[in-house]
């Protein structure tokens, strides 16, 4: 370490302490869940406190480290509980939501970016306004439409349709913003070279918009993977629960199976957290450039 670097370290030390404080706050709940998951038991208390605990006992109790490391919770939640099936439900629903969501948003985003047609402004504004619709207001009508009219209660399709649709406004706004940055001349020259309109869209515009498409896909996937209320309302049969509904099943109401919950949470969080880190750059640029500024 040369002299300048060390000086800067020293000058920055108080700031590092501030940041470290937030790092601890950020990491603690997650470490705590990891500890419960690895403790091999269902209780929140992964350390047995004596009847009259000393300060050190208590310090031990809040230190996120289990008495012994056991993977029993992971094995058990997968083997003894229908959790595997719930994860499968979530995976199918989120996967299909991604495909459908990208299709719907990329076509609509292209229309709103490239064409000037009557109803364009109204359509875009209505997407914005729809973001303010309180979900609960639509829950009862949606229930009537999907479950009573279309008979799609407790099915994958019903959830996929709803998730792909509620992701549309954000994705369309973001994709529209991105499409706007692709020069029109590229398309015009392709048209002159004899490409069809569909070819221009599929071969030229979509590949150029890869980052934005990736964000759309991620967003749609996260919508499907993380959504809780709609799934809890539409999926009546236990076997059709999605992972969020199932996790809440472990610790909601009077059941206190924190071990299953913790192990399940880690399993469920891992893919989205990984995806998030992989695509966060695009998500952020999408949020700042596309959706927010209009």
């Amino acid at each position: 370490m040369d002299n300048g670097t060390r000086r800067r370290w020293l000058r920055h030390l108080p700031l590092h302490l501030v940041v470290l404080l937030f790092v601890v706050i950020t990491l603690y709940p997650i470490l705590w869940v990891v500890t419960i998951a690895l403790s091999g038991q269902q209780s929140l208390a992964y350390v047995d406190l004596p009847a009259d605990p000393t300060i050190f006992d208590r310090l031990r109790a809040i230190t996120p480290w289990p008495n012994e490391i056991s993977f029993e919770n992971f094995r058990s939640v997968w083997a003894d509980q229908p959790f595997g099936r719930w994860v499968l439900n979530s995976a199918v629903v989120a996967g299909a939501t991604t495909i459908l969501g990208v299709f719907l948003a990329s076509t609509a985003g292209y229309a709103f970016s490239r064409f000037r047609f009557p109803g364009r402004r109204a359509g875009l504004m209505s997407f914005l306004v729809s973001q303010m619709f309180p979900g609960v207001l639509m829950l009862v009508p949606l229930y009537i439409i999907l479950v009573q009219w279309l008979g799609l209660g407790s099915t994958w399709i019903g959830l996929v349709l709803v998730y792909a649709t509620i992701a549309i406004p954000f994705c369309v706004w973001m994709l529209k913003g991105y499409f706007d940055t692709i020069p029109k001349e590229l398309e015009e020259s392709a048209l002159i070279d004899g490409a069809s309109a569909a070819q221009v869209f599929l071969r030229i515009v979509l590949p150029l918009a890869k980052p934005a498409i990736a964000v759309t896909a991620l967003f749609s996937f996260m919508t499907g993977w993380n959504e809780f209320i709609l799934a809890a309302t539409f999926m009546d049969e236990e076997i059709m629960y999605t992972a969020p509904v199932g996790l809440r099943f472990f610790v909601g109401g009077y059941s206190q199976q924190w071990g299953y919950f913790a192990a399940g949470s880690l399993i469920v969080s891992l893919p989205v957290v990984a995806l998030f880190y992989f695509l966060q750059k695009y998500l952020i640029s999408g949020l700042t450039a596309g959706a927010v500024k209009g």
Binding site: T5, R8, H12, H16, V18, V19, F22, V23, I25, T26, L27, P29, W32, S43, L44, R58, L59, I62, F103, L104, A108, A111, F112, R114, F115, R116, F117, P118, S126, S130, M132, F133, P134, V136, L137, M138, V140, P141, L142, I144, I145, L161, I166, I168, P169, N226, F228, I229, T233, P244, L247, V251, V268, S269, V272, V273, F276, T288, V292, K293
Partner: protein, 651 residues
């Protein structure tokens, strides 16, 4: 652009389409109303038969031989009655049966089999209903049931014993063959209602010889207006006449049904008396009016004509609505808007084709539910009346009045004033505080961390960034459930930490203040990374020479922050704040999963309150009104923000 080449064709097309719509809907409505009328009549017949047989069996005192004769004769006299069963509830016996299966070794009288438990249960249910109604002195539960099955009606009625104060001792169960639907659709009338106005229209356009050269040389404005008005009048007249005729025909049918029924009742009484005579038991007179009862065995005060009034009103409403719709359609086509819309559609067909899939799914799954929800907010829809038409449960602005008019925020009780946490204004106030607190925490923490991380040469910045972004990446329902566990009053780590510091454990969800801390901590934890990342991005885009120049001018760090950094951040931060205000305002998961509104609904925000009204109290209409208010608040906020910040300019 020669937009209107031939106005008379346009007006004619509009007229035909509109007539098809209105008359078609009216015909369908009338056919359905007639079918319902038939069903009502048949159900009423079934009740009469069941009540009559129950009385006869009661007079035979459930004595097997006598009941056998009654049942046999009754079945002979009423060919539509396919099967009769009589059950003695006390002895659990099948006293008599005309079912084909109950022959041979299963011939009545015999004990009921296990597979006949359903029949017995139905009998017990009716007995319980009669007893409850008598005890409470009102009509609570149905005493006679009529169920429509494929091709038949199943009716059941209690048998009373006159000597034991009318105690229910048995049940009669009848299977009655349904009559084939008598009423068809009114084709002739529909055809007339379609044809007459069309013919008249054609005559009108041909006969008075509108001066043709007028149209060719100078476009005379009166002519199309005259024609449009004339055809519109024809349309309205035709629909009105058809609607009035349809309602009249329903009423005529009902009156005829009433007359027939009166005759039939007299006939029934005569037959039954003959039946009693043949059994040698004609001691007392039968009153046929006691059989024409409703499901609570109250004498039916209203006849078919009165029942029809409801059907007629419904039909009238249908015709009015569809007539209005048809008129709109007519004007749309006749005035040329349809042509213009068609032109626009074909001109921009590629754009519309691209936008179509998304627009359709938005229409079906977002906009329609939204407007349906708004409509529901004017009704008192709840779990018991979802199958009723909306017009029957319409309450106008009552829900809104109830929500917004609840000013009694503080209740005076014996223990002094108590805040009514279920009041809308408490929840609104709490939601606003919740939103402001969360967004402030998010912005200040996020901005602070961003400013630190952005410092030139700050070591370990990528690692810090990766870690600090973690709460954003975590699914928020998991975050919520984790924090709920950490605030557990007995095992939660927060209370352990408090005890280390010498405090005593806190029951976090027992008072509004501490419960607020829990939800705030949870939401603060998961919302600061968003602001941090947005700020970091914006900080990077500030050109370094601005600071250079400021330093040359001798500005202090604080001055640089105030005059350069913060103003440069504004364009990025303002939209982010708007977004996070809306998100937080509707942050359902955190409240619902962490505090669940405890204690006593004091930490409920508007959206969770609305959810609980809908799915725990099942007051769908009231919940819809509640959500509509939430929407209006957010919409007002959005419009105001938009005006202040001009965020959506230039799209």
């Amino acid at each position: 652009m020669s937009r209107n080449p031939n106005p008379s064709r346009r007006v004619g097309t509009g007229l035909v389409l509109a007539l098809l719509l209105a008359v078609g809907a009216g015909t369908w409505g009338l056919a359905r109303a007639r079918l319902q009328q038939d069903r009502q009549r048949e159900a009423r017949d079934a009740v009469i038969l069941a009540a009559e047989l129950a009385e006869l069996v009661g007079r035979a005192d459930l004595e097997p031989v006598a009941v056998y004769s009654v049942v046999q004769l009754f079945a002979e006299l009423h060919p539509r009655v396919a099967v009769v069963r009589v059950i003695d509830l006390g002895a659990k016996r099948l006293v008599a049966s005309t079912a084909v299966a109950d022959t041979g070794d299963k011939t009545a009288p015999r004990r009921l089999g296990l597979d006949e438990k359903e029949l017995y249960d139905l009998g017990q249910e009716l007995r319980a209903a009669v007893e409850t109604n008598r005890r409470e002195g009102r009509s609570w539960k149905p005493e006679i049931t009529v169920t429509r099955r494929a091709g038949r009606f199943d009716a059941a009625a209690p048998v009373e014993n006159a000597e034991r104060d009318g105690a229910v001792v048995g049940t009669v169960l009848l299977e009655i063959v349904a009559e084939p639907a008598a009423a068809g659709a009114p084709w002739l009338a529909a055809l007339l209602a379609l044809a007459v106005p069309m013919v008249l229209f054609v005559l009108l356009t041909r006969w008075p010889r509108w001066p043709r050269q007028h149209r060719r040389h100078r476009r005379s404005p009166e002519r199309p207006v005259l024609m449009v008005t004339a055809a519109g009048t024809l349309l309205v007249l035709a629909v009105a006449v058809f609607g009035l005729w349809a309602i009249g025909s329903l009423e005529t049918g009902a009156r005829r049904a009433d007359e027939e029924l009166a005759a039939r009742l007299a006939d029934e009484a005569e037959r039954s008396e003959r039946l009693l005579v043949s059994l040698g038991a004609a001691d007392s007179e039968l009153d046929p009016r006691r059989w024409d009862v409703d499901e609570y065995r109250r004498p039916r005060e209203v006849g078919a004509a009165a029942q029809t009034e409801v059907l007629g009103r419904r039909l009238g409403r249908l015709v009015t609505w569809c007539g209005g719709l048809a008129l709109a359609l007519y004007l749309f086509v006749a005035l040329g808007s349809a042509t213009r819309t068609g032109h626009a559609l074909s001109h921009h067909r590629r754009a519309y084709a691209y936008a179509l899939p998304a627009m359709i799914s938005m229409l079906v799954l977002v906009y329609f539910p939204f407007f349906y929800g708004i409509v529901l907010s004017f009704t008192n829809a709840n779990i018991y009346n979802t199958d009723q038409p909306l017009t029957e449960i319409w309450v106008g602005l009552d829900n809104f009045g109830e929500i917004l008019g609840d000013f009694d925020l503080v209740e005076q009780t014996a223990e002094g004033p108590v805040i009514d946490y279920t009041s809308f204004y408490w929840t609104l106030g709490f939601t606003v505080i919740w939103t402001v607190a969360n967004v402030s925490i998010g912005v200040s923490v996020g901005l602070l961390l961003a400013l630190i991380l952005h410092r030139k040469g700050f070591a370990l910045k990528p690692i810090y960034r990766v870690i600090l972004i973690l709460p954003w990446a975590m699914p928020n329902y998991i975050t919520a459930l984790i924090w709920r566990g950490m605030f557990h009053s007995q095992f939660g780590v927060v209370n352990q930490a408090i005890q280390i510091l010498g405090g005593s454990p806190v029951s976090w969800f027992d008072s509004p203040g501490t419960a607020f801390v829990t939800v705030l901590a949870t939401n603060g934890w998961l919302s600061f990374p968003f602001m941090m990342v947005i700020s970091l991005g914006a900080l990077q885009s500030i050109p370094a020479d601005l600071y250079e120049a400021a330093r040359v001018d001798g500005a202090s760090g604080w001055q640089q922050l105030r005059s350069i950094t913060l103003p440069s951040l504004k364009p990025a931060l303002v939209p982010a704040v708007i977004l996070s205000v809306i998100w937080t305002f509707n942050m359902f998961n955190i409240i619902y999963l962490v505090s669940a509104g405890q204690p006593a609904g004091s930490t409920e925000i508007l959206i969770t309150d609305a959810y609980k009204i809908a799915f725990e109290q099942y007051r769908y209409g009231y919940a819809a009104a509640y959500s509509t208010v939430i929407f209006l608040i957010l919409f007002g906020y959005g419009v105001w923000q938009n005006r202040v910040t001009r965020a959506t300019e230039g799209i």
